[in-house]
Structure formats: structure tokens, C-alpha cells
Symmetry: D2
Subunit: 327 residues, 4 copies
């Protein structure tokens, strides 16, 4: 089927490519004209702006917005909503906060325009592996765009089937899911990312403990110099903790087990933060996910003010003079 | 080759079976005579006690002890050490604390007996999937038992190869690793379990946040009733957080997404605790692994004394009378 | 000076009493007529409603709203804003979220009405001990109500002076502070409560470790049966961890060191939650304050869904059959 | 009464001074002869070594060892045990691990020598304020040294009495406590320090959140530039979170609210670590105390290996090229 795509970055561009390969046709736009030209050369129709893109689509129009969450997505959808007609569908495939989806969906509903939020996981691997998608929106809209979703999803592949799914919605086994009303797709994707932080931090701490087992602070007969790369590799087979993140870890460590080229200042996206906010709203204890987020915050700092305060208190009550720089 | 196996529980019994299938021959013993009889019926040689088992093995004897860590393993190895000869090999395949390995290994070395510690992951799935093994000990001993290890390990299987491993020790790709001196196998297995706790807790918290998104404490238009089973399933394909633990989660949720038959009182083994002790010894911050352990502690309690103390403080400073039962 | 007080609960009523004792005069209103009558009997002027209260005040009118945060405060200030005149001052002494202050302050500013937010600590002890107050708002408004603030504050008292405060604003030593623009008073009070949670949880965990030192799970020669009440008492003198919360702890434990009348289901207010949200917005790692909040969440639950999921995973990978209820 | 003191550092020296002021007489020894000379000049009797010190004491001899925990204390007590006689008393006033106390106490008991462990809080303030002491040992030994303990303790002072302590052991109100058998004094002191870490971290995080409220990452109308020193001061009066640690914080901030002279690399002693080990042994969830310890570990590191691993994973799954240094 036909799809308009706004935003041709790494994610948007590859989504268009995967759809084109599957026989769908895309009308594409990006502020960066070169990106438009490139995809036009691969079989898509280029557009010169939002109005042109909308004009080149048949009703009911389906437009996928794949832009950074926040202002860029907000203003684009705002403008689109003035160009599109009742029965049309706007898809937000970015990392939008789900409460923004709810607000936008309500506003678009008044104009008769459908809004579908698609949380999209897959990163740079999606073009080949397919995208895992979590989709919120009205049933009729989600059903209408099913050919697109099915083409983007990984499909069943060689992954073993889960017993006991007979009679269930087949889409999750294909790698996409209609999670519920507007916003629920991004909500589920948000929690997905929160879990991702937790999993990553669990591996990070474990390897840290392995690495520091050679520390000279330990008794000499209790030190081990362990091979990080081989350990990551061995855990990929038959162990309880095998995962795709471990596969990637094994790759990175096989290249250079010192990881010296990685600075260790770890960014976080809105989704990790919103997950904790959601946990707090729901009064769900979420120690691990929060600790993973805070570890990232701390990784980007030289020292916190709080740590200086600890030094100051120690200096004041214990005369720990070593803790005052200029004493 | 030939192996003596002491302890024919779920782990020991299946290890014998996997070895037998691979053409190795086992002499087996267990306090439970029925277990011995059963495996004798499957091609092993039964033994009536440790002395009998040792007597039935050719030198250099290799005996695998697969018993609960602590007293049972300790006393068995103690007794074995009096029965075996210089050049023989004792393997501890249980979940022994690595400092106990170091102590034992030193004692056995004085008698010329080799000690090899094998951390074994695989659980009830090991018979079919193979066991992921982390092995500490002297090179000559570990090399000697390589046929057994190779037979127990999962092998390369269908798992994608990690790029950049050319020229490296091939064993980790087969699912087993010689991690270093005595104790290092159990140390690495210990950290493996610590990571396991962290990963499990990350999923647990994420699904908790999904589940409670239907809570009536939330604004009505922000509630979603999400399908836990379908979400677990969709994340298995193309998402960053796919893993074997997620596969199992998807199975459990497909059977009954309420999980009502699971009590939620979660046991912990020594390995989770020792991992945190190791982190503390090394001064490695390990928030996530620790939080995962503490969540298990808390899961088994109705209330902590600490929580009662919080209520008491609140009552004292705020007159929160609702917090005193008999007021 | 003259003050209108809306909300005569425990906090509002005692604030009126403390002001009355200091020679100020209050016009008071509460939905509960009995509360109005009671305070009228103690020297205040009763009002029959907001309009009546406003009418009984001289310009520039100063009205203190002491109601539950959220809807009650919001609607009252909404109504007040229609009754008051340019130059008048509305004080919100409740536990309002500081972003609501900012919004309200901006709306009232358009009408020429001052808005002052007062974070008030002191609880049931405030009438005698005085209230510690954190105040946000325009300088001229805060200065105007200074006589009221000074009367409510604890004053210097017998607490030792902090060296090096010569030349500084004297108000903090009296127990009140002008923290900055609108909202900053509630923001500082919010963080105060976040710290309070952390401090309380630190004591709670420590006493928990003391209490469980008699556990039969420990080796017999390492068990101690410790006297919780005496330990709390001894720490009050000369130790690094003496505090007012410890004083209260010592009182509760002296009454009954088993704390058996306290249920241990610990409520949390918005302020603890907002503190963590603020930390996340600022990318400040705040492990301790967050853990304290989550411990309260967990204290109110029998089991989390997450814990059931842990049991389910253990059952699936390890055949831990003891963890399925109906197996 | 008479006391032998070994170790005349800041703690030992001031203990001698406080005892001397109270009319007790000390025989003193330190490896550093100057320290001996100094205290001899203040009324104590100097000794040239352990044997000399023991020889100068009347039976039953009481010797207080005030040395760094671990090897120095261990070897000194070892040597002392050969010099002292049945009925004599050795006091370990340092920060010894309580399991070492138990071991030592059992060994000394065989020689008829009493062992008393005294956990001592007070730091550089102890000389004037008195020392809060937690004491483990046999009743007869603890009773024998009561005059010394009473002289060192802060006494009731001006601190308000806790209601309901009538009929209880009066010593805790004086600032010292007989906690139980050998080791229990150090155990309680250990937990005291664990709580101390938690309290300190709670303040540290709170002030961090206050400090970063001026961050440019926040919306401009939600930023506040708060006065750290004044806020610490105001909380000292009438607030729920007033404490001695807050008093010290207020002092440090009054001197320089930027704390720029404090490096923020925060040491930890064994006691903080042992507290967490104890929590784990008892299966007590102790999130806050652990997080406080881990924050100190992290404060001393530039980056953890774990953080580099997070960067590596992000690079691998997301192509976050900014996270590889040399790309």
C-alpha cells in the first residue's frame, strides 16, 4: 500500500527501504533534500514539503512521522492536521511521551483524523532484522495499516514458538502488537526501554565485578585475571542469561576486551525517565530500573555536589583532613 | 572416557545421561539407592558407596561431585580425598563458594590430588540444551577432562557466531570455558547468577509497571489494560530486550497471564548473596544486582521491623493516628 | 497584624492559635462550622464563607489557605482570586506541588494579587515548637507578612549557633527562610520531605539489622538479642547519628520495643514522589531518596506482580516446583 | 581507677585526657614516643612497651587498646594475652569486626582473661562532648570498668529525657550501653556507622537536588538559585530533619556554600561494608544503607568498567557513534 513518510533519518530511511522491498510505495519528505533525493532514487516519490506530500497521497492518506520526540514531532503533526482530511491516519513512530499521544489523539479526533502511535524497537538492525512494534490506536486505523506493519515486523523467523498461544492474536508472534488505545503503544515501548536500561546495567555490574577481581586490594590468592570476551561468549550458550544484549556485549569484548575506546559517559533518553515517573504514579517499586537510570546520570558527572557534601560532613565530624583540598 | 559421579539428583542424573548418550561411561553413586538403580539401568555402573565407586574407576580417577554446596559437598570431598591417589581429579560441579574451592584445592594439592571447580548453568534444560560450564583448575587437569566437558557443553549450535573470535580459545563458543585457577569457575558462575537476579528483576519491574497501568489510582483516560502475554511475545522478536528469560516469561504468561498460581515468595541462593559480598570487597558499585537480591528478601516477608519503625516515627511526629493499630 | 485563615484542621487551627498567642488577630473559616466556633471562642473572628472572610479583612488583605493540596486548595484559591483586590496577598501554606504555584502565581499576578507559597514543617509539634517555614514569593509580599512568619517560627531557641553566619540574613536562624520566587518555598519543603524519607529509612534499616541479629538462621554463637529501646537511647548522646527523628524513635521503642501496634504499611505523600521526579528532571542520582520511597510502596503490598513473575521464571528455568502453588 | 592505654592517636589520646580530667590515672604507650611524652606531661604514666605497661598496672589489670582495626589490633592483643593474667581485662575500643571479637574473646577466655569490645562514637568532638559507647562483654568485666565508661560518656546533659524510661537501665541515658556478649558492642557500633552513611547520603542527595534546581537544562521559569547555607540553617529549627549531621552541614555551607574545597572522593570504612554483609546474612533488605555505600565507591572512580560496557552496548545496538572515542 501507499505511505507518506516524514523524517528520513536512520530510522525513517530504513523503514522506507524495508517497505519498498516489500512492494509498498512511499512518498517521502525530509528537511534535508539530499535524503529525499537518495530515497527517490531507490523507488520512492520525493515530496518538497508537507503539503506536497499530502497532495501526492490517495485518500484515506496514511502519513508516518519519524522525527525526534518533542517539538519537531509536535509542530509537524500540528501542521499535518491542517492538511489532512477526515478518515486520514497520522502515525507517530518516534519516541513520544504517551501523555502527548493522548492529548494529540483527542485533538485530531475532533477533526476526524486518526492517530496511531507506534513504539519502534530495532535501531540500526531493523532494516535487516525487522522492527518490533507496539501500536496504540483505534482498531479500524490499526487494521487499515496492517500491511505496512506486517512488512516492517520481523516475522516469526527461526525463533522457537511459545507453547500455548493457539487461538491468540497472531500478530505478537510476527513481532508487532496492537496494545490498546492511543498512547498505549508508546507506553509499552517506554517500559521496554526502561527494562532495557535495567538489563544493561545488570550485565555492566556483573562484568565490573569480574573485571575487578584482579584488583590489588584483594588478597593475592583470591585474585583472578578473567577473560571478559571469553566469558561473554560462553554465556551465550546454554546459560540462563543469554540474550541479544549479551550477544552484542560479546562482540564488543571480542574486538577489545579493555573497552578503552568507549568513554563510559552514558546518555539516557526520555523513555528511561518516564518509566520511573510511571512507576511512581502507579506506586510500583522499581529499584532496578531506577538504579540503572541513576547510574547513567552519575556516569556523566565528575563529582556530584552531594559527594562534596559527604566530604564536608566527614571533615566536620571526624577531622578527616585528607578530605579538604586546601587544608 | 570414564567418570565417577556422586549425587544423582536432577543435575547429576542428567549429566550422567548426557555423558552416556555421548559414549562416555559413568560409575554412579547416590545415598538414594533407587537413583543408582535407575541410572544403572540406563548403562552406568552402580556403586554402593564412595570406596566402591573409587575402586571401580581406573587411574587417573576422575570423580564429579554434584551435591548441595556446603556440608554435603564438604564431607564428601573430605572422604574422597582419603580414598583417591596422587594424579586423580575431583570435580566439584555444585554451587560452592569459591573461597571454599581455594581452601580445598590447597589441601588436596598437598596430597597430589587435582581439584577442578565447575560452575554449571542449565537447570532442567541441560540434558537437551547442554550445560554452560565455567571451569577453574590447573591446565593439565582441565585438559584431561576435556572430553567430558565437550560432551556436556551445548556446542556451537545454531547461534550466530561472534565476529572477531578468530584465533581465540574455541571452547567458549562450544559453551565451556577454562576461567583460570581453582575457584575461578565458581566465581564466574556466581557472578552469572548475580546477573541473572538483576535481569529477572528488570523484567519483573517492567511487567509490574505494565500491569498496574490499569490501576484505578490513575486518571481514567491514562489507564490501559495491557495483555502481558502478548507483550512478552512481541518483545521476543526484533526488540533489544529479547533473551532466554523473556522466552520463559512469555511461556508462563501464555499459560496464565495473571500468574495467580505463583506465590511470589522468591528464594535466593548463596550465589546471589556472594556476588554482592564480592562487589563490596572490590568496592564496585552494584546497585542493580543488590536491589534484585533485596527484592527477594522482601518478597518473603509480611512486614519488616523497619516498616513498623517508619509507622512509629510517622505517628510520633505527625500524629498519623491511622498508623497505630490499637489507637 | 491581621490574617485570614481558611482551613482549620490540625495545622491551620494550631497556626491560628500560635498567632493569637503572639498577639495577632485572625479571621477564620472552615467548611466545618464547629472548627470555626471553637477558634472564635479562642479569640479569632469567625467567618461564614470566603466572601465573608474577605469582607472582614482590611486592605491589603492577607489570606492563608491551609487545605489539602490539589483540588481543595485549587478551587479555594480560584474563588478567592475573584474576591480579592490588587495588592492583596494569598498564602498557600499546604503541600502544593511547586509547578502549580508557578502557574497560579502567574495567573494571580495578572490580577495584581500576590501569591506566597509557604512550605511548613512541624506537624503536631508546631504549636509549641514553632513551624519551620520555607517561603517563596515576591520580596515585598514576603516582607509584608514578616510579623506573621516571625511569630510562627521557632526562633533561635537553645540551639547552638552556627559559626560564620555573621552578616547573613537573620531569618534562617529564627527558623524561616525566603527561598526565592514563587514556588521555591514549596520546592524546598518538597526536598525537605524527600530527605525525611531517606533519613527515616536509614534508621529503619539499621534497626532492622539489629533486630534480626537474633535470627535462628545465623550461627548460634553469632546471634545477639539486642535492646532496641536502649540502643536508640544511647545514640541520642554523643553519637554522630543523633537527630530529632532518633528522639522520636527512642520514644516509640521505650513504649514498646516490639512496635507490634504499628502495622508497617507506610503512606507516602506527593512530596516524596515529586522529589524523585525533580531529581530525574535534573539528572541527579538520588538512590537513597528513591529507595526510601519504593520501600513505602512495597510496604503496602502483599506481593507485587513482579515477584510472581520471578517465581514463574524460576519455575520455568529451574523446575523450582515449590514455587508453583497448585503443582 | 587505673587504666592502661595502648594507642595514643587522636582517639586514644583524647580518651586519656578525658579520663585524667575525671580523676582516673592512665599508664600509656604508643609506638610514637612523642605521644607518650606528651601525655606523661599531662599527668599519665608513660610506658616503654607492652610489657612495661602491663608491669605498671595493678591486678586486675585493665588495658584499653585503641589502634586501627585489623593487623595492628590483632598483633597487640596477641602479645598482650601473653603478658596478662587471669582476671585481667583487655578492652578493644577500635573499629574491630565483631566476628574477630568473638574469635578473640573465646581464645582469651581459655586464659581466663576478659575481653570487652567498645564501639566508640564521637570523633574529634569526644573530648568535650563525651563518647557514645556500645559495649559487649561479660557482665562482671563491664561492671568492673564502669567508672571509666561513666567518665568517658557524655552524660545526660541538656538533652530532653525520653518519656517512659523509668525502671530501665540508666546507662543508655548517660550515653553508654552494655549491649550483650562479646562482639555485640562492635556490632551495634557497626550498624550505627551503616545508618550514618545512609543519613549522610540522604542529606547529600537532597542538597544535590536543591543545587541543581538552577540547571540550564530546566525550563527557565522553573529554575531557582537557592541558598544552600540558609536552607541548612533553617532546617535546624523546628523541622523534622534536624540532626547533628545537619548542624555540621550548616557549618560547612556557612563557610563556603560551593564546597569547592572538598574533593568529593569519599572514603568508606569497614563498618559500612560489614553492615551490608550483616544485612545479607540476615536477609534484611537494606537498600538505603547499601546505596549510600555504593555512592561512596562510585565517588572515587573516574569511570567504572560497567559504564564503558553500557557505552559499548549502545554503540552496538543503536549505532550511537558518539559513544565510541576513536570512531
Amino acid at each position: 500500500m501507499q505511505l507518506g513518510m516524514i523524517g528520513l533519518g536512520r530510522m525513517g530511511g530504513n523503514i522506507v527501504r524495508r517497505l519498498t522491498r516489500a512492494g509498498h510505495h512511499c512518498v517521502v519528505y525530509d528537511r534535508n533534500a539530499a535524503a529525499v533525493t537518495e530515497l527517490a532514487g531507490e523507488g520512492s516519490t520525493g515530496a518538497s514539503g508537507l503539503a506536497d506530500l499530502v497532495a501526492k497521497l490517495d485518500a484515506p492518506r496514511v502519513v508516518w512521522v519519524m522525527l525526534p520526540a518533542g517539538a519537531p514531532t509536535e509542530s509537524t503533526i500540528q501542521e499535518l492536521s491542517g492538511l489532512m482530511k477526515p478518515g486520514d491516519i497520522i502515525i507517530d513512530g518516534g519516541n513520544t511521551f504517551y501523555k502527548d499521544d493522548i492529548r494529540r489523539g483527542a485533538a485530531l479526533k475532533e477533526k476526524g483524523i486518526h492517530y496511531v502511535d507506534v513504539g519502534t524497537s530495532g535501531g540500526v538492525w531493523g532494516l535487516e532484522r525487522g522492527y518490533c512494534m507496539m501500536i496504540g490506536g483505534a482498531k479500524e486505523a490499526v487494521d487499515h495499516i496492517d500491511p505496512i506493519l506486517a512488512a516492517l515486523a520481523p516475522g516469526i523467523g527461526s525463533i522457537e514458538r511459545t507453547p500455548g498461544r493457539q487461538g491468540r492474536d497472531p500478530r505478537p508472534e510476527m513481532g508487532y502488537i496492537h496494545t490498546g488505545p492511543i498512547g498505549s503503544g508508546h507506553f509499552v515501548k517506554m517500559v521496554h526501554n526502561g527494562i532495557e536500561y535495567g538489563l544493561m546495567q545488570a550485565y555492566a555490574e556483573g562484568f565490573d565485578i569480574l573485571k575487578n577481581k584482579s584488583s590489588e586490594a584483594l588478597p593475592e590468592n583470591e585474585r583472578y585475571t578473567l577473560d571478559m570476551a571469553d566469558i561473554a561468549e560462553v554465556w551465550r550458550r546454554g546459560s540462563v542469561i543469554s540474550s541479544w544484549l549479551l550477544d552484542l556485549t560479546a562482540q564488543a569484548l571480542a574486538e577489545d576486551s579493555s573497552l578503552k575506546d568507549y568513554p563510559g559517559e552514558v546518555a539516557d533518553s526520555g523513555e528511561g525517565r518516564w518509566t520511573i515517573n510511571a512507576a511512581i504514579e502507579e506506586a510500583v517499586p522499581a529499584e532496578v530500573l531506577t538504579a540503572a537510570l541513576f547510574a547513567r546520570f552519575r556516569s556523566r558527572l565528575s563529582h556530584t555536589f552531594g559527594e562534596k557534601l559527604l566530604s564536608a560532613m566527614r571533615f566536620k565530624f571526624g577531622g578527616h583532613t585528607e578530605f579538604k583540598l586546601k587544608d
